[in-house]
């Protein structure tokens, strides 16, 4: 993908001078904005769903390292192969390697913005592999050799007439004028490609940690075919797409389809978990998932710096622990940011690493989170931990001790006399070299120490939001019955 932000003003002037684009976007806005406004009226408790969705996502981002590892375990348990890409170039390289290993000559693609980001299509075509976009809008711009102008409606800048001309030129069939006829023609032209492709590439709307699935939301059916017909399926996804449970996905879907296209639900929700299993009648022989960093950990780590400010996290976590649990809370500081941006909590009873670690929070004091009302209630809950002693922490190789202190309601107080030599918490380093990339993706992420399944948020815990489950199941039945473009 070409980054053109340096030419923003010039490109903006060009776009402003294009009346067709303006008209198309106005129509699109009318459809989608009105569509959304009307479809959200179907929800009685929009704000609660939004809050629940937001907290699921915040949780996911805050515990990304844990969820990524859980995802990998679960995906591999179902026979998928998980790869870790640190940069966009890594994504391209990994896809090509998979293609070469499987003697792939033709690839079909479902729409992926990440693929745009890394320039995947060009890379594969330069390597001599035929790549065919199957989403209608993406197909159009692929034929026209353009880039998408809109995330959901990539060919919005093209008029129906221009598309009719394009189809006539490329398909060598009589020129159609009716949009329905053009769609059918495109479908007819694409069908043989679906049936002869060796590999399918999809993006992911979400990755689900508890089942190791990737999922996509589509309307055209091309996503269905791309994930099942070819013998190899590759899903590429940014790590920020991770969510803990299927219920969280279901929650967010209620908002996603409404906000994206004004639909109560899209025609297809496709969850892919592993390749063809024993006893399945169809499915790909191999399923690969490429987890992509490409700058995301940098962004997440910096954003999370504030969110995971040790004392903020501390207040929250402490108030959630039982009395007994609190008394054995330990606190650590990552070497990655010695100014104290990260901290993690270990629960009582977690297996200790062989060394000792202490911490210093004196430098953190200046950045105590503001005592806003929410934090105050947590702090009040945490006040009972006044007598909590922070035991010396577990040591790991390269650990850095900065001090020893005590948790109080107003934060953590350091025992000056105890300030010792520096120790840093060691990272969990995997021995095998093949895991080097994996490590480097996970490394900048703050470590989450809770590993129990009950740590995962239950999006439906609030009774007001529970009624949703019935309509979700109804919608799922409806989706199974839907048979539009196929």
């Amino acid at each position: 993908m070409q980054v053109t932000s340096q030419q923003f003003k010039r490109k903006a002037a060009e776009a402003l001078a294009n009346p067709q684009l303006h008209k198309a976007l106005s129509n699109l806005r009318a459809r989608m904005v009105t569509g959304r406004a009307q479809s959200v009226l179907e929800l009685d408790n929009l704000e609660q769903i939004r809050e629940a969705a937001k907290s699921a996502r915040d949780f996911a981002l805050a515990h990304l390292d844990h969820l990524l590892e859980q995802f990998e375990r679960n995906a591999c348990a179902r026979g998928a192969q998980v790869h870790w890409a640190e940069t966009g170039d890594d994504v391209n390289r990994l896809v090509l390697e998979i293609a070469r290993r499987n003697a792939v000559r033709k690839i079909i693609k479902s729409k992926s913005m990440l693929g745009e980001e890394t320039g995947l299509n060009h890379y594969l075509e330069a390597a001599g592999i035929e790549v065919r976009e199957t989403d209608l809008g993406e197909y159009i711009i692929q034929e026209a050799r353009e880039t998408p102008s809109h995330i959901i409606a990539p060919a919005i800048h093209r008029t129906a007439d221009e598309i009719a001309d394009l189809f006539q030129q490329k398909h060598k069939l009589p020129r159609k004028t009716d949009i329905g006829e053009m769609t059918r023609e495109a479908r007819m032209v694409l069908r043989p490609h679906f049936l002869t492709a060796d590999m399918g590439i999809t993006g992911a709307n979400f990755l689900v940690a508890e089942s190791g699935s990737s999922m996509i939301v589509t309307n055209e059916g091309n996503g269905r075919m791309t994930t099942t017909l070819p013998r190899v399926h590759v899903a590429i996804a940014g790590i920020e797409k991770m969510l803990p449970t299927l219920e969280d996905v279901a929650f967010i879907l209620r908002l996603l389809t409404r906000s994206a296209t004004g639909q109560s639900i899209s025609n297809y929700l496709t969850y892919t978990t592993g390749p063809k299993q024993a006893g399945d009648k169809d499915g790909p022989d191999e399923f690969h998932i490429i987890l992509v960093d490409a700058g995301r950990t940098r962004v997440l780590a910096s954003d999370l710096r504030a969110a995971l400010h040790p004392l903020w996290g501390l207040h929250e976590s402490l108030s959630g622990l039982s009395e007994r649990g609190r008394s054995r809370v330990r606190l650590g500081v990552s070497r990655a940011d010695r100014r104290g941006a990260y901290a993690r909590l270990r629960r009582a009873g977690e297996r200790a690493r062989p060394a000792e670690c202490r911490y210093d929070v004196q430098s953190m004091r200046g950045r105590l989170p503001r005592q806003d009302p929410a934090a105050r209630s947590h702090a009040q809950a945490a006040r009972t931990t006044d007598r909590t002693r922070i035991a010396p922490l577990v040591r790991a190789p390269r650990a850095q001790v900065l001090g020893v202190g005590r948790v109080t309601a107003r934060g953590v107080r350091v025992d000056r006399a105890s300030a010792g030599r520096g120790w840093t918490l060691g990272r969990w380093v995997d021995a095998a070299d093949a895991q080097a990339s994996r490590r480097r993706v996970l490394e900048p992420l703050p470590r989450y120490a809770g590993a129990a399944r009950q740590d995962l948020p239950r999006a439906l815990s609030s009774p007001q939001v529970n009624p949703y489950m019935h309509s979700f199941r109804a919608a799922a039945r409806w989706t199974a019955d839907a048979n539009t473009l196929l």
Binding site: K9, A12, A13, L16, G366, R370
Partner: protein
């Protein structure tokens, strides 16, 4: 109840009648109003442009000028939002100032919000014969939750009919420095807002921020519309709807 009136620099320089109307509304409601004479700007243009030092200096000045008030009322969503929402972040490197800013933030109210939520105003002095449409200013709506309050107040004005435009929440294109940095995009956005207003056939567009006001009125006049009035809701409520001074 000592109420400090933060008139805002745009009101002071471009539309003093808005400030005078706000003063009248507050005094009619029985407040003891203080208008610190040395007040100038909230510092938002500097803050938005990344010029933190002058913005911090202005913030310090605002904090000292309004420290003695029980409430600080602002006839502008953007300045109110700046003081209430952004001052603590702007002053984060000065812990004492930051906590003072947080205390002040609890006392800052946008004018319509104050009239409705704190004073519970039921009657207004103004009259307006005709139709108006209301434009929601971005900061007031999104930072301070001002949406229903001005509409509720306008509903109490005898003779006034409110007709909503197609997209009242859509930005007018001003965006403070945005209109300067990206003028052509801003002008297009303003054109859409003006077309939306014209479509309602209203005699006047009413809003709560002089930034939006200047932008919309300027664009309307340049489009050849000399008829549609552009008014701050304070002016209508206080009965000051002559030509802006």
């Amino acid at each position: 109840m000592r109420v400090g009136l933060f008139v805002t620099c745009l009101v002071d320089l471009m539309r003093p009648s808005v400030g005078l109307s706000a003063l009248k509304l507050l005094e009619d409601a029985g407040c003891e109003v203080l208008v610190p004479a040395t007040q100038t700007c909230c510092g938002q243009p500097a803050y938005n442009s990344g010029d933190r030092r002058p913005a911090q200096a202005l913030a310090r000045k605002v904090l000292s000028e309004f420290s003695g008030c029980d409430y600080v009322v602002v006839p502008s969503g953007s300045c109110g939002g700046m003081i209430k929402v952004h001052y603590p972040q702007l002053l984060e490197e000065f812990p004492e100032l930051r906590s003072e800013a947080q205390r002040l933030a609890h006392k800052v109210w946008e004018l319509a919000d104050f009239l409705v939520s704190v004073l519970g105003v039921q009657q207004v002095a103004g009259r307006f014969e005709g139709t108006v449409t209301y434009h929601d200013c971005c900061s007031g709506l999104r930072e301070l939750g001002v949406k229903l309050q001005p509409r509720g107040l306008l509903a109490k004005v005898p003779g006034l009919t409110l007709r909503e435009m197609g997209s009242p929440e859509q930005c007018c294109g001003f965006g403070g420095t945005f209109a300067v940095k990206f003028g052509d995009i801003s002008a297009h956005i303003a054109d859409e807002k003006c077309a939306d207003i014209a479509h309602t056939g209203a005699d006047a567009v009413v809003l709560g921020d002089v930034g939006c006001m200047l932008n919309i009125e300027g664009r309307l006049r340049r489009r050849g519309d000399a008829r549609t009035k552009v008014l701050h809701f304070a002016e209508i409520l206080a009965g000051v709807t002559n030509d802006p001074s």
